[in-house]
Symmetry: C2
Subunit: 204 residues, 2 copies
């Protein structure tokens, strides 16, 4: 089946969103981009991969994140690259990479506000993968090998980070269903069934 | 196919959510409840159907709604029926009807916070139907026979009403995707395709 769509995936921590994306990429035989975005952006921008990871980690506290993002932005009137904050430069580097990936054709892109970055690009389908809390804890224990308290801590921490990162860069609310074409609970029928439902939906 | 699920449907105005619900009911050969909730609640409570409709209409302005809801509630300590506000009594009457419908077996229930009312009931699947603004305007013109300005006005008014009504009675946010198992944009593939995707999802 020919599939010319660019699929962005936003996901709760432990929902299996990344695995859903991998399986969709395998099914449609299209590229899957997750950490590849960071490595490409690092190569092109000259910033280290660690700088990109730190920018994401910082977003755990939205207030501190806002301050950190604003501190080095001297020139709001002159948005030349050199007067932008480091975080804005990092985000811009990722934006360029995501847009180029999308231009190359059908693909899966996980996270990093790709739904917002590609909002004016045709043939984009935005997915959000969620799951109930019990199955997310179970998954974090089984897949990431965490102890239960650490799994619970990560769920809170990563969701908060993703939410803050998203709202800071897009001005929109992460988890507002109007941002997505399909939001789907993966634990109701399992990962494989979720993938099949998405494939059915995409074949419109 | 045997289907033992209770399906609640929340929907944006003009998204076709009601039609999706009707088609699901036909497919699974199960009851479809929308205005039946009001007529049953009216019969059982002694309030008129108009009283129920007015309670929903009032929710357009959340501040006035809160005042109206609170005004006649004298006895928060003593939640006997007679000391509840009229609006709370109306909501309670609807709650009873929805719970009874759900006890009778598989069915489709549209609106009226049914996802929240049935949150502790097993075998409930909560759906949210959305659509992009252009297709909602088009639908309101075609299906409800409205002029364009009236269609646009209704979309704003009804969504606000549903949002206020929902958040007042549930304390949760209407349109927060974590309240639903599946949130789906109906205009991407059309109503029939949306129904097919939901059927696929439910067959987990």
């Amino acid at each position: 089946m020919i599939m010319n769509k660019i699929i962005t995936i936003s996901r709760q921590y432990g929902s299996g969103g990344r695995e859903v994306g991998k399986k969709l990429a395998e099914h449609f035989e299209i590229p899957f981009y997750d950490n590849e975005i960071i490595s490409s952006a690092a190569k092109e921008s000259g910033f280290s991969e660690i700088a990109f990871q730190r920018a994401e980690e910082k977003a755990t506290n939205s207030f501190l994140y806002s301050i950190a993002m604003g501190m080095s932005a001297y020139g709001n009137m002159d948005m030349g690259f050199s007067t932008m904050s480091v975080d804005d430069q990092l985000f811009l580097a990722e934006t360029k990479v995501i847009r180029r990936f999308a231009q190359q054709g059908a693909c899966i892109i996980v996270g990093r506000c790709a739904d917002y970055i590609l909002k004016d690009t045709p043939n984009v389908i935005n997915l959000f993968i969620l799951a109930n809390i019990e199955s997310r804890i179970k998954r974090a224990i089984e897949i990431y090998g965490l102890e239960k308290p650490k799994a619970e801590e990560n769920i809170l921490k990563f969701d908060k980070r993703r939410s803050n990162y998203y709202s800071f860069h897009t001005g929109k609310k992460w988890g507002d269903l109007t941002n997505y074409d399909l939001s789907i609970r993966s634990d109701l029928g399992g990962i494989e069934h979720t993938v099949e439902t998405i494939i059915k939906y995409i074949q419109a």
